[in-house]
Symmetry: C2
Subunit: 331 residues, 2 copies
């Protein structure tokens, strides 16, 4: 039933053509040059080129007990920010001879576990979690040597795995400081009811930032409704604020998507003219195009790829990388 792959040329063919043993071909192909004379190397290289040979990954993976695959498990690919990270990671991995396998866990623990299992069977070189959720397999994995990299959200198991992301708490505080220094007036906050460390830290930072200036956020102006995605959460949160007669001058959202949703609620309420100022997190690349008045905390997603590679290859022994964020003001 399984369709056979094309009978590509194998190492044997190259060896035969070059008149050497397969061991030599393998060495040359892998850049081990001190075991063959320059002439032999040249001959083998020529044969490789002539046959368009490339080592089959299955054979290599079998022998080396690890593949060139790096699994990236994203919580939600529909989120442009996640897609941006994935794209950036893909480029960086490729440049390091690794291949990205991208999966969408939909933030569901069972699905995440299923993927973790599969990637273990694939002998993935490393597993990158773009928004991890706690799950049994994840805990088991911590006991294995497979490198685990947590992006945006920290590992649900304290003190394990490398982290790549921004300092969300500091970013939250920055937003609060900015709001106060601008004298924007009454602020509201909409965030996801998620247990993710990113959201938690942002919210904590925001609250801290306000209280550090002896100001405070009206608890009635904080909303964290349930919702199937950030867009819906933002819309629902804003709807509640409007319904309750709140008229904030600024709405802080813990993601750009939440802000998109909130803006829609204001439009739908016929209050487009009285739309409050808004600020989100991520600074989605689309903002300049579709949300010209949305301020946002820019997260350098384009730089995540390299950071992820560094974490994957364990180039630095540190427990992770904290990248800089930047508050981008619009509108």
């Amino acid at each position: 039933m399984p369709r056979r792959a094309p009978p590509a040329s194998s190492i044997k063919d190259v060896a035969a053509l070059a008149g050497v043993s397969i061991a030599t071909v393998s060495r040359v192909a892998n850049g081990v040059l001190n075991k063959a004379s320059p002439e032999t190397v040249a001959r083998v290289r020529q044969a490789i080129a002539a046959l368009d040979y490339r080592p089959t990954s299955a054979g290599r993976a079998l022998r080396q007990r690890t593949s060139r695959l790096v699994a990236v498990l994203a919580a939600n690919l529909a989120n442009p920010a996640m897609a941006a990270i994935a794209a950036s990671a893909e480029v960086a991995l490729r440049e390091n001879g690794l291949v990205m396998v991208l999966c969408d866990t939909h933030d569901r623990p069972e699905l995440q576990d299923e993927y973790l299992r599969e990637m273990l069977a694939q002998q993935a070189r490393a597993i990158v979690l773009l928004g991890a959720v706690d799950s049994p397999m994840l805990r088991k994995l911590h006991a294995t040597p497979t490198p685990l990299v947590f992006v945006n959200r920290r590992s649900p198991v304290a003190g394990t795995g490398r982290f790549v992301g921004i300092d969300n708490r500091a970013a939250g505080a920055d937003v609060a400081r900015w709001a106060l220094s601008k004298g924007l007036g009454k602020a509201a906050l909409i965030h996801a009811r998620s247990a993710s460390s990113a959201t938690r830290d942002r919210v904590a930072g925001i609250l801290e930032g306000f209280s550090a200036e002896a100001a405070a956020l009206d608890p009635a102006a904080i909303r964290s409704p349930e919702g199937r995605d950030h867009l819906a959460i933002g819309r629902e949160g804003a709807r509640q604020l409007i319904e309750d007669g709140m008229a904030p001058a600024l709405v802080i959202c813990t993601s750009d998507l939440i802000a998109y949703g909130a803006a829609r609620a204001w439009r739908e309420a016929g209050l487009a003219a009285a739309m409050p100022r808004m600020i989100g997190f991520d600074d989605s690349p689309l903002n300049d195009w579709v949300a010209p008045t949305l301020s946002s905390v820019r997260i350098p997603y384009g730089a995540f790829g390299e950071a992820i590679v560094a974490a994957v290859t364990g180039a630095d022994r540190s427990s992770g990388l904290v990248l800089p964020h930047l508050l981008v003001e619009r509108g």
Copy 2:
């Protein structure tokens, strides 16, 4: 240097635990039940569960000469429409026991070739091209048994590969008919200067649709500037229209992203109030949230996944699947 994967339990361990040969374990694991007694099957199953055994893909791929990997080569992951297709494909593939490997070719032939080579080395079960571009390797691949599936854009090599997408020509004609029947007045057209069959067919359909009603699109109102992405193209095209004093009542864009770009140009020109009506293609899921006045031809991206799987597994012998589109009117 390569970090070793955890010493997961292998088929031998299972065999030892169940007191059978590895052949029997393999058979049971693959659901071949007519070669073992029910009791043996049960015993093996128990051992498999106890050891949390899952066949290593490298061994399997080596023996079967094909892997469970399906390569998806996307032209541009930053495009939410592509991301949506990828997400949909990923789910459908997974449900069929296949694993998606996602790559971003950035519409560049060399990069596409590099990925094609790599995926051949990975013994990918099939290769899905989300926006293929012509390239040497692609032509070579047509001679191999590896199934090739073209999504959105048809194969650059006539008559080869399966196709999944909508009838772009008909969709273009639908847009023209809609514009005329609504009596919207003077229309403009912005499209990418791409050689992709999707864009070509849409443009052709639009022009045909107009002439079929004995109307015509002012050639001076058709723009196809160069640009690094659709957003930039839309912005530049609109900028040209504005500069040339065109004041179309409707701007037809061959993608939603182009329309986003065009809208930005009008805003930037200080003409937000006089923004023409717009219609795009894709109907990005984000439209309802960020572009409430953008009409669009909805492409059922959520259904692409299943169609792709059907094409990949060759379940139907047809040369491809044409899915229905739908004109969604907004604003």
